[in-house]
Amino acid sequence: MVPLSYYLVLSALLFAIGVAGFLVKRNIITIFMCIELMLNGVNLAFVAFANQYNLIEGNVFVFFVMVVAAAEAAVGLAIIISVFRTRETLNVDQVNLLKL
């Protein structure tokens, strides 16, 4: 039986990698994948706790998160495609019209 702390450390590592990637990367697709990474880090923490304490709620939350992530991927990818069509770039630093 792997101890709970291992899972949690892995989860934190995944989340931190996601955050770092989100901040550092300029390509929108990469940023998008970093968001997925963060979500999955959180999912891992949920299932680990659910397993540890024998509670079904953790698993239910994971399913919710996955459903939302799927919907978000659909919408997000659509947005990315239309951004690329209009601006011919995926560099977020050049997609900066919405400002004061």
Partner: protein, 756 residues
């Protein structure tokens, strides 16, 4: 109350002119001048006819048994036990007032048809006149003080509208404002008196208040009734142009002359006298207030008469004479001779209405000239005007047997025989004023109608007064009101194409275009109109532009103006006979008629009141009939002296006035400048208010504090926003950075919470 078996439909009297106001006011713009005049005459005429029917029915039923008569229409409002009804009230006093207002009012309406024919805004004029009739009739027929107050304020409004009728002229507009504001000062007093009445008697209805008052004794010292009386006097001073609130009336001469006749001589200004007479049960029990009324009246009478001596504008002389005569009425009321005051009110309505109308006819004849120094010799040129004016002049001067003699004589006699202290002084002031009145009226008469015509010679005579302010609109230009803004724009187009863009005024508050063009252009303009638009509304404009050139020679006025003059002249002669005193072999019907309203004595026990007339003060100590005849002779003598001196100064030795004015130069200048009262008010009240408003209220409080707070809050928000708006850079990664910073901070806070 005998509403069911004896219904006079009193409400018709005020409502009919109101309908006229609505019809002309709403649709008159599209009517021709003829239709406007027909509507404007029909409704007040119907009102007069109904008033006559009422009088006939009242006398058929016996005035003493039928009156007082109340007709309630409904409840205005109800607050707890305090109820104000919509009800009209007819007694001897309001009957007299109703007849004066409808009668003289209608005659002046007829006159206006001719007088205003060449002015723009014909429909507006008639709708305002009708509105005035409505409010004045509401005032005199109301059965309670609050409804009376509605009429009171309403006539103020109508007066404002009519004084400022030529509102494109600055002088007229400010005269309107002056009248309105000065009246507000007086209304303040009336309003406080109303509150006191409500507080002490719980009602504003005349019958309730007076029956409660009649149980009270006369106040030896100042008390509630005295306070009410004095405050009412303040209100009456405003409306009836008494000292110190008379200043608006001379300026009100900026209005068209029929307005001066109707409002500022015959009817509206008498409202104050009417109120004092109406409230006689209150005044009877407040000797202090009564004394104040008498003193204000006497002072005003002599004060205004002295100013009238030196004025050169024909209408201003009449204006000061009005103030002076109103002073007589107050004097009469102040010695409890209410019926004499009302009698003078009636005769004054006749002869002063006539004087103004005749003066209007003179002005009309001379094409807008109002300065008497440019008149003279008109006796033969405008004979009808001359003879009617003569009747009025003799009436106001108080010659037997003209109307003014009886009323003025009655007042002077009642003042002399009043029991109070100082009645001798008051009487002397009255007689001296009668002399002054006679002098300045005959001065006007001689200057206007005798000697040679001085028109066109510039300022003749010995008076060194600067030229008068612009009079009524001159005839060199034609000013017509466009029926709609669209037509106004069409007219402007025409003017532009003619290359003679003279004037095209847009009067903002009423959305009216005025087209002003020289008479030489009028013909072309009329043709263009014919071609350009078939709109019936322009027919009035066509009439105006096709009207013949104004005569520059004095010419007699049209019949529609002369008939009212003749009617009023007849009344000025015979109108006083209803009050022929018993000392001269008459029976003074007028006094007896009004007796039930005004002769309720203070001392009389309730039993005597039930009989109606109780008259302790009717048999004064030193009042023999032979004495009364002697006193009549004295007042006629004063009038005769005035006539003689005026003849000396203005016909026989015509250099005399100049020498006299030089001899007493300081006094003369003071009189000419109306005792500098306007200047005094300017320095004492107007300037402090204007400067206080400008520097303290506007610049310090409004701009500094109020705007400062609002603008400061806005500026702060802006500064804060300027600081944080850098966050919205458009750079997605920096947003992410902010989110993470926030998350970290929150996390840190939670950990900190967990640690402690």
């Amino acid at each position: 109350m005998n509403v069911n078996e004896f219904n006079l439909h009193l409400w018709l009297i005020p409502v009919l002119p109101f309908l006229g106001f609505l019809v002309n006011g709403l649709f008159g713009r599209h009517y021709s001048n003829r239709t406007v005049a027909a509507v404007g005459l029909l409704f007040p005429g119907a009102s007069l006819a109904w008033a006559l029917v009422i009088v006939a029915r009242v006398f058929a039923g016996g005035a003493a048994t039928v009156l007082p008569h109340t007709e309630a229409i409904g409840t205005w409002f109800r607050v707890g036990s305090f109820v104000v009804p919509y009800a009209f009230f007819l007694d001897q006093l309001s009957l007299v007032m109703m007849l004066v207002v409808t009668g003289v009012g209608f005659i002046i309406h007829v006159y206006s048809v001719g007088y205003m024919a060449h002015e723009g805004g014909y429909y507006r004029f008639f709708s305002y006149l009708n509105l005035f009739m409505f409010f004045m009739l509401t005032l005199v027929l109301a059965n309670n003080y609050l409804l009376m107050f509605v009429g009171w304020e309403g006539v103020g409004l109508a007066s404002y509208l009519l004084i400022g009728f030529f509102f494109l002229r600055n002088a007229a507009a400010s005269a309107g404002k002056k009248a309105f504001i000065t009246n507000r000062v007086g209304d303040f007093g009336f309003l406080i008196a109303l509150f006191l009445l409500i507080k002490h008697f719980g009602s504003v209805e005349f019958s309730t208040v007076f029956s409660k008052v009649s149980g009270l004794p006369a106040e030896a010292a100042a008390g509630t009734l005295t306070a009410i009386g004095l405050l009412m006097l303040v209100g009456a001073c405003g409306k009836s142009a008494q000292l110190p609130l008379y200043v608006w009336l001379p300026d009100a001469m900026e209005g068209p002359t029929p307005v001066s006749a109707l409002i500022h001589a015959a009817t509206m200004v008498t409202a104050g006298v009417y109120m004092v007479a109406r409230s006689n049960p209150i005044f009877d029990r407040a000797p202090l207030a009564l004394t104040a009324v008498a003193i204000v009246g006497a002072l005003t009478a002599i004060f205004a008469a002295t100013i009238g001596l030196v004025q050169n504008d024909i209408k201003r002389v009449l204006a000061y004479s009005t103030i002076s005569q109103l002073g007589y009425m107050f004097l009469a009321c102040g010695v409890m001779a209410y019926s004499a005051g009302i009698f003078h009110l009636v005769t004054h309505a006749f002869f002063k209405g006539l004087l103004f109308l005749a003066a209007g006819s003179v002005i009309h004849a001379l094409g807008g000239e109002q300065d008497m120094r440019n008149m003279g010799g008109l006796r033969t040129k405008i004979p009808w005007t001359f003879w009617t004016m003569t009747a009025a002049t003799f009436a106001i001067a108080g010659f037997f047997p003209f109307a003014g003699f009886f009323s003025k004589d009655e007042i002077l006699w009642r003042v002399w025989s009043s029991p109070g202290r100082g009645s001798g002084i008051l009487w002397a002031v009255g007689v001296f004023t009668a002399f002054l009145t006679s002098f300045y009226m005959f001065r006007l008469w001689f200057l206007t109608f005798f000697n040679e015509y001085r028109g066109g010679n510039g300022a003749g005579g010995g008076h060194a007064q600067p030229a008068r302010a612009a009079g009524e609109p001159q005839d060199a230009f034609l000013e017509v009101e466009a029926p709609t803004i669209y037509h106004g724009l069409l007219a402007r187009e025409f003017l532009r194409r003619r290359g003679t863009v003279l004037d095209m005024k847009k009067q903002e508050p009423v959305f009216t275009y005025f087209v002003r063009l020289p008479r030489s252009e009028a013909e072309t303009f009329a043709q263009w109109l014919q071609h350009e638009t078939k709109n019936a509304a322009w027919s009035r404009v066509r009439e105006a532009v096709q009207a013949p050139e104004p005569h520059h020679e004095p010419h007699e006025s049209p019949k529609v103006m002369l008939v009212p003059l003749v009617l009023l002249a007849i009344l000025s002669v015979v109108g006083g006979w209803i009050g022929w005193p018993s000392a001269l072999g008459g029976s003074n019907h007028f006094d007896k008629f009004l007796a039930p309203v005004v002769e309720v004595s203070v001392e009389a026990p309730p039993a005597a009141k039930a009989h109606g007339i109780a008259e302790p003060e009717r048999t004064p100590g030193h009042g023999e009939e032979s004495t009364e005849v002697l006193f009549s002779a004295i007042s006629v003598g004063a009038a005769g002296l005035g006539l003689f001196l005026a003849w000396l100064c203005y016909v026989k030795y015509r250099e005399l006035p100049e020498r006299m004015s030089l001899a007493v130069h300081g006094f003369y200048t003071t009189l000419l400048n109306k005792y500098y009262v306007d200047e005094g008010y300017q320095a004492l009240f107007i300037k402090p208010i204007v400067e206080g408003s400008t520097f303290l209220l506007w610049r310090a409080i409004d701009v500094g504090v109020i705007d400062g707070t609002v603008n400061g809050a806005a500026a702060d928000a802006r500064a804060a926003s300027r600081a944080v708006r850098r966050m919205q850079s458009g750079n997605l990664r920096s947003y992410a950075g902010w989110i993470i910073t926030g998350a970290v901070l929150m996390l840190a806070y939670m950990i900190w919470l967990g640690v402690h």
